[in-house]
Amino acid sequence: MNKNSWILYIGILVFGLVAPFIFPAFKVQLSILCVLIVLATTWNIQGGEMGYNTFGNILFYGLGMYLCASVQVGMFFPLAEWTESGGEKTFVHTPSQFFQGMAAGLVVAAVVPTIVAGLIGYAILGLRGHYFAICTLGLGVAAGEISGGIEIIGAGQGFTTPPFPNIGGLEARGEFFYFLSFGALVLTFIAVRAIYTTRFRLILNAIRDNEDKAEAMGIETMKYKITGWMISAFFCGLAGGIMGGLVGYIDSTDVAFDGREMGVFMVLMAILGGKGTLWGPIIGATLFHFFKEGFWTFFLGWQYVALGVLIVVIVIYFPEGLMGWLREKYPERFGEVVDEADRKAQVELK
C-alpha cells in the first residue's frame, strides 16, 4: 500500500464519519447506500471472483433481517404476542434493552446465515453455471414464500421491528443506524481487501477461469467455494439485520426476501461497476443508488419499467462494467504492461 492510497482511505473514512452531519437530510439514504455497497461487494466474491452467479445471497440477507428482529424482540418479550399485536403497541423496549437486543441480534444475524451457507453450500455449489443461478433464484423465492406462511414471524401481515428508544428527548435514530451500517461497510471492506491480497483470491479466480483444471492442479475447489460463500453470507446477514432495523418493518416478499428488488440490485450493482474488482462494486453501488433514487423520485410509478430497461441495457452493452471499460481504455493504470509495438503488430494482423 503506497502513500496515495492511504490518503484516499483516510479521506473516505473521514468523509464517512462526518457525512451525516454535513447532509443531515440524507442520513437514511446514506445508510442504505452503505448496505448496498456491502451487498454488492459480497456478491462480487461469488459472481465476480468465483464465477458463480448467484441470485441467492438474498436468502442470507432476509434471514439476517428476520433473525435480528426476532432476537431483539424475543430476548425480552414473547415473540408470538409481539407479532400478533402488530408490534410496539403492547411492549416497549427500554433503551438498554433495545441496544442489548440489537447487539445480540446482529451477532445472531451474521452467524446463523454463515452456518446455513456452510450447510447448504456442499449441495448447492456442486451445481455449475446457469443451473447454479436458477437454483439460487429458486432458493431465494422459496424462502420468501415459506417465511410468508410462518405465523410466529408475522406471516403475511409483516413484522414490526422494535422502534428506536427515545433517550431524554434526543432523536438519534438516523445517526445510530448510519454509523451501524457504515461500521458494517468498513468491516466488509477491510475483510474483503484482506482476502483479495491472499492466495484465496487466486484460487477463486482459478475456479472462475477453469474449475476442472483448478481441481486437476490439486486445489480442493469445494472447500474454497464454501468458504467464499460463508464469507458472503456473514456480511449479507449483518447487512440484513441492520436494514431490518432501519426500515422498521419486515415483510416476507417485499422487504426481506425481495428477489425482484434487492436480489437483482446486488447483481446489477456489481456488474455496473465491474465484476472481479475491489472497487467496481463500490462505484457501481454508488452510481446505481443515485440512478435508483432519481428513478424513484422522477418516474414514480414507472420505476420498475426504468429498472427493467436499465438491466437490459447494462447487461447487453456494459457487461464488463465501468472498471472493465476503464481497463480497456487505460490498461497501464491497472498494472498491465502494454507493449506498444506488440499491440500495433496485433492490430495490423487483424
Binding site: 432458493l139 410468508g148 420498475y304
Partner: protein
C-alpha cells in the same frame, strides 16, 4: 388435515385429475422453453410473463364480449409478433454469449413486462369466464370444470400440431438442423438469424396459447409470471432437452405434486413448495452425477 387425503379417496382422485389437467398446460409451456433452450441456448426468465400477457389478450376479448376461447387462436398470433419483436430488440444480442447474460437480460424483460402489465391491466386477479359449466364424477364427489378439460384438450392439439410441423415442414427441419449444429446449418444455407427469430416467435406463441387457456381455467395476475418460468425450467431439466414424452410426463407429475402440496401443506405454501422442489431436484441430480465425477452442464 394431513390424513384427509388418505381417508377420503375422492380427494385423492380429485387432486390427481386436477393435477393431470394442470400438468398438461405446464408441459405446453415447458415445450416452448425446451425448444428455445435447445435451439438458441438461452434461458428465458420472461417465459412466465409471456404466458400472463397471452392470458390478458384472452381476458380482453372476454371484456369486449367475444368468447375467451377464441383467444386460443388470436393470442398466439399476437404473441408470435411480440416474440419476434423481443428477439429483434434484445435476444439477438445475447444469443451466442454467456448464459448468465441471457438470464439477466430476460430477467430485465420480465420486470419490464410485469410492470407494464400492471399499468395496462391493473393489479387485480382476473379470470375470463368461459361459462362451460362443470362435470361431476363419482356420485358428485369429484368436480371437474369443463374449462380444464377443454384446456388440456387444446394443449394436446397444439403440441401435436407443433411436433408434426417440426418434423415435416421446411422451417421445422431448419430449426432442428440449427439446434444440432448452428455453424454447419449456416454453411448449408440455413439463415440461422431467421430461424432463431422464428423459434422465439413460436415459443412466444405457445406461451400465448397456454396463457389464454390459463385465463379461462385459473386466474391471471401481472406478478404471477415467475412461478411459470420456474415450473417450465424444472420440467425441462427433469425431462432433458429434446425429450418430448419426458416433458409431457414430468409436466403432469409436477401438476399432481402441486395439487397434493396444496391439499397437504396449505395454499400459502404452494408456490414455495414448487420452488423448493426445483432446488431439491437440482441437488439430487448433482449428487447423482457427482458419483460419476460429472456435473450438470
Amino acid at each position: 388435515m394431513d390424513f384427509l387425503v388418505f381417508q377420503y379417496p375422492m380427494i385423492t382422485i380429485q387432486a390427481c385429475l386436477d393435477g393431470l389437467l394442470l400438468g398438461i398446460l405446464f408441459a405446453l409451456i415447458a415445450y416452448g422453453m425446451a425448444l428455445q433452450w435447445g435451439v438458441m441456448n438461452i434461458i428465458n426468465i420472461a417465459q412466465g410473463d409471456l404466458v400472463i400477457l397471452g392470458g390478458y389478450i384472452a381476458y380482453f376479448m372476454y371484456l369486449y364480449g367475444i368468447h375467451p376461447a377464441w383467444g386460443v387462436i388470436v393470442s398466439p398470433i399476437i404473441m408470435y409478433f411480440v416474440g419476434i419483436a423481443i428477439y429483434k430488440l434484445v435476444i439477438n444480442k445475447v444469443v451466442d454469449r454467456d448464459l448468465f447474460i441471457s438470464i439477466l437480460a430476460t430477467f430485465g424483460i420480465s420486470i419490464l413486462f410485469m410492470q407494464l402489465m400492471n399499468f395496462a391491466f391493473g393489479a387485480d386477479v382476473v379470470l375470463a369466464n368461459s361459462g362451460y359449466g362443470t362435470t361431476m364424477l363419482f356420485d358428485n364427489n369429484v368436480v371437474l370444470p369443463n374449462s380444464k378439460i377443454f384446456s388440456a384438450f387444446i394443449s394436446i392439439v397444439f403440441a401435436i400440431c407443433l411436433v408434426v410441423y417440426m418434423k415435416r415442414s421446411k422451417l421445422g427441419r431448419a430449426i432442428r438442423a440449427t439446434a444440432q449444429n448452428a455453424r454447419a446449418a449456416k454453411i448449408l444455407g440455413v439463415n440461422t438469424e431467421k430461424v432463431y427469430a422464428a423459434t422465439f416467435g413460436i415459443n412466444a406463441a405457445l406461451c400465448g396459447v397456454a396463457g389464454a387457456l390459463i385465463s379461462i381455467t385459473f386466474t391471471i395476475h401481472p406478478y404471477m409470471g415467475l412461478p411459470y418460468t420456474i415450473r417450465s425450467f424444472m420440467i425441462v431439466i427433469v425431462a432433458g432437452l429434446g425429450n418430448l414424452p419426458g416433458v409431457a410426463m414430468s409436466g403432469m407429475g409436477l401438476g399432481i405434486f402441486e395439487e397434493f402440496a396444496d391439499y397437504i401443506l396449505g395454499t400459502e405454501f404452494r408456490i414455495g413448495s414448487v420452488f423448493l422442489l426445483l432446488v431439491l431436484i437440482l441437488v439430487y441430480r448433482r449428487f447423482k452425477l457427482s458419483r460419476k465425477r460429472e456435473y450438470l452442464k
